[in-house]
Symmetry: C2
Subunit: 138 residues, 2 copies
């Protein structure tokens, strides 16, 4: 199977594309010569990772009949100082809120995503160290 995206230059240094029927605009910040019409592209790598593993985990938890009150996926990434400035280390924090949540099931869902389902994690792990942490807040 192939996935394809086609980004069209629209104005100054901004680009636009259609993703699954949703318009996505990418731009540089004003201080870098852009017009800030959309988010920066590099950080989208982190949103891709958080979204991919987040959807996996919440789907697995639904099957386990576990429903947190709130759930956040936070990705912290270290950027190199030298060009090309790129991510060389990431940490994924799975933060669940709720009383009496079954921590073992949360950890199992995270591990299933990391090892079996999340195709974004699979690629990034080939390129760098990707750590993770499960946090439960009452």
């Amino acid at each position: 199977m192939k996935h394809v995206v086609d980004l069209a230059w629209t104005d100054n240094v901004a680009f636009e594309t259609d993703m699954d029927g949703h318009k996505v605009v990418i731009d540089a910040g004003i201080d870098s010569g852009g017009s800030d019409l959309g988010p920066r592209p590099k950080k989208l790598m982190l949103t891709a990772l958080a979204g991919c593993t987040g959807i996996d985990v919440i789907m697995i938890l639904k099957k386990m009949k576990v429903e947190p009150e709130a759930f956040n996926v936070i990705v912290e990434a270290d950027v190199t100082d030298e060009h090309p400035k790129h991510y060389h280390k990431m940490k994924v924090i799975y933060q669940f809120k709720g009383k009496g949540l079954p921590v073992e099931k949360l950890e199992k869902a995270v591990k299933l995503s990391e090892d079996k389902y999340c195709g974004v994690t699979a690629v990034y792990k080939k390129a760098m160290n990707v750590e993770s942490e499960v946090r439960v807040v009452e």
Copy 2:
């Protein structure tokens, strides 16, 4: 330097975040149990790459006083058949439209982005083969 994203689970299996002041929603498709409120996360990896290198190239061409009539960055990515289904090969097509465009300068701008500036290319190249092609259409 660190980059951080924080995606919050909002509804069913959808997530939302703020990126540089822009709301971004990620969701699964309806046939996968989602509500299609936003794009799928994995393909965002391709938008990150196209946006990153596209912004580089158009900025470099501005400095070279080269302005195409149109410019698209198309990324084609091959997905593995087995879980975790992930990209294992990519091709980046830089498609310029315009009459009498200086092809050498276009190629130089692309090469500078690939080798020196684009931090997304740098990561993906550690994980897989990333090819590129410069296409000029009159």
